[in-house]
């Protein structure tokens, strides 16, 4: 899977789960202030990403530091690349 394909999979998974407008899903978008997620949503975000990429990330400290969609892209890319 290419980097772009991974990002597309992240964005499409999150857009479906949280009914987001793809036009709002820029890398700079803050997931709380711009995309409107909250703490309950971040629980589900982890589950959605774990399901999409077949990895376990719930216990990872880095997850708690995610603020933007770009943070998610970088985090997942690192995990997927590291695992591959």
């Amino acid at each position: 899977m290419t980097e772009q394909e991974i990002i597309e999979k992240i964005d499409s998974s999150l857009a479906e789960e949280f009914e987001l407008d793809r036009g709002d899903m820029t890398p700079e978008a803050n997931i709380y202030d711009d995309l409107g997620l909250d703490s309950l949503d971040t629980v589900d975000m982890v589950i959605v990403l774990e399901g999409a990429f077949s990895f376990k990330i719930r216990e990872e400290e880095a997850v708690r530091n995610i603020r933007t969609l770009g943070d998610i892209h970088r985090f997942v890319l690192e995990k997927v690349t590291g695992n591959s």
Binding site: F18, E19, G36, L40, V43, D44, I47, G51
Partner: protein, 410 residues
């Protein structure tokens, strides 16, 4: 007797016969049926009934995602019906968070559909790692009440009575008592349920679900009819906005009806088989609460679901109470049994009858069962000036409930 008078100022309906008070009234006066053949029920082993009174045309996505994520279908129905009731009443938005407005809405269970989906996934590997955060909020016992309060910003008392088929009637009664006692000024009250095959199976296993009309859906259920063969389960929500009368009058609200009596009792003779004496006692207690004599009742809206035993027991109780002097009908032939919603939907319909001065006959009652005779069955709609209505709901678990309505007053 009440310390404070309690009135109905708003009504919200999501039902097999429409999604507003007006649509419900129109369908009932026209004698329509909300019962349908449900092909999916063919796939369920051992289930003999294929009929249900389902809600059509409600898109859950009309509810914003952040509100909806904690809702199953029943909470969506309760939320939409609550919005309707508040809008009809013109209820001041600033009162919702005053602490003087509450919610009393119950359901038979938390969401069975959500539970089913969870356990299908859970049994794959007994892992909780895929469990979404919204699960608990959809299966908890007070899901409808909590979701309505949360979504509408209501900060007063929240209660979620759960008494199967008597839930909606009990919820209205408990709300009436809260306001009558001065603890709240207004309460959204009623019930909601969503259809799941398990509900039908619950009755089918006891041979209390209709199985003989699978190819003629609208001909069942048949309350009080000689050929009745059981219940047909449904879904929906009925919500009434009750207000302290003095507050409603002061703000210029339109009063639709008044709640003047309530009783609920436990029939310990059986957890499943109703006892006519216990039903009679419940109606008598409600009349005592209202200060009325039985002779003053103008119309009885029966629970009568179309089961063999339940209809006979209720007939005996009504016969003992009023003989054949008071018109009686059941709306289950139109609506099926909307379970926890039925009490509130049928109370709303009874208010509709008072407002339109017309009584709705029992649908599918063509040949009165001799065991159900001796009371004044309505087999045709009937013009009538109605001042006092007695409304029954009885439930598995031995729960009886009766509410007394008075038409809109001076």
């Amino acid at each position: 007797m009440s310390l404070e008078s309690v009135v109905v100022t708003g009504i919200g309906i999501v039902s097999p016969l429409g999604h507003s008070f007006e649509q419900l009234n129109r369908a009932l006066f026209a004698g329509e049926s909300g019962v349908k053949y449900v092909p999916e029920l063919e796939e369920i082993g051992g289930l003999r009934s294929r009929l249900a009174a389902t809600v059509e045309g409600v898109d859950p996505k009309q509810v914003p995602r952040k509100i909806r994520r904690s809702m199953s279908k029943m909470s969506v129905y309760a939320y939409l019906a609550s919005q309707q009731a508040l809008a009809m009443a013109g209820y001041p938005a600033e009162q919702l968070a005053s602490g003087r407005t509450g919610v009393v809405i119950g359901s038979t269970l938390g969401s069975t559909e959500t539970s089913e989906k969870f356990f299908i996934d859970y049994f794959i590997d007994h892992s909780l790692e895929r469990m979404k955060s919204g699960l608990f909020f959809q299966i908890m016992g007070h899901s409808c009440a909590a979701n309505v309060a949360q979504s509408l910003g209501i900060t007063g008392r929240v209660m979620a009575p759960s008494a199967a088929c008597a839930t909606g009637c009990q919820a209205v009664g408990y709300a009436y008592e809260q306001i009558a006692f001065g603890r709240q000024d207004a309460i959204l009250c009623g019930g909601a349920d969503e259809f799941h095959p398990l509900t039908t199976a619950t009755f089918d296993v006891m041979s209390a679900a209709s199985t003989g009309f699978n190819q003629q859906p609208t001909e069942s259920p048949r309350p009080f009819d000689q050929n009745r063969d059981g219940i047909i389960c449904g879904e929906g929500s009925g919500i009434l906005l009750l207000e302290k009368k003095s507050v409603a009058v002061a703000r210029g609200a339109t009063i639709l009806a008044e709640i003047i009596g309530f009783a609920t009792t436990s029939d310990t003779s059986s957890i499943a088989t109703p006892d006519s004496g216990a039903m009679y006692d419940c109606m008598r207690l409600a009349l005592e609460d209202s200060g009325l004599d039985a002779e003053e009742i103008d119309y009885i809206n029966a629970h009568a679901t179309g089961t063999i035993q339940g209809d006979v027991a209720e007939t005996e109780a009504i016969r003992q109470l009023v003989g054949d002097r008071v018109p009686v009908s059941s709306l289950k032939g139109h609506l099926g049994h909307t379970m926890a919603a039925s009490g509130a939907i049928e109370l709303a319909a009874s208010i509709g009858m008072m407002l339109h001065s017309e009584l709705v006959a029992t649908r599918n009652l063509h040949q009165i069962d001799p065991a159900c005779s001796g009371i004044k069955h309505l087999q045709q709609n009937q013009p009538a000036e109605v001042t006092y209505v007695l409304k029954n709901n009885f439930a598995m678990g031995g729960i009886n409930s009766t509410v007394i309505l008075r038409s809109k007053t001076e």
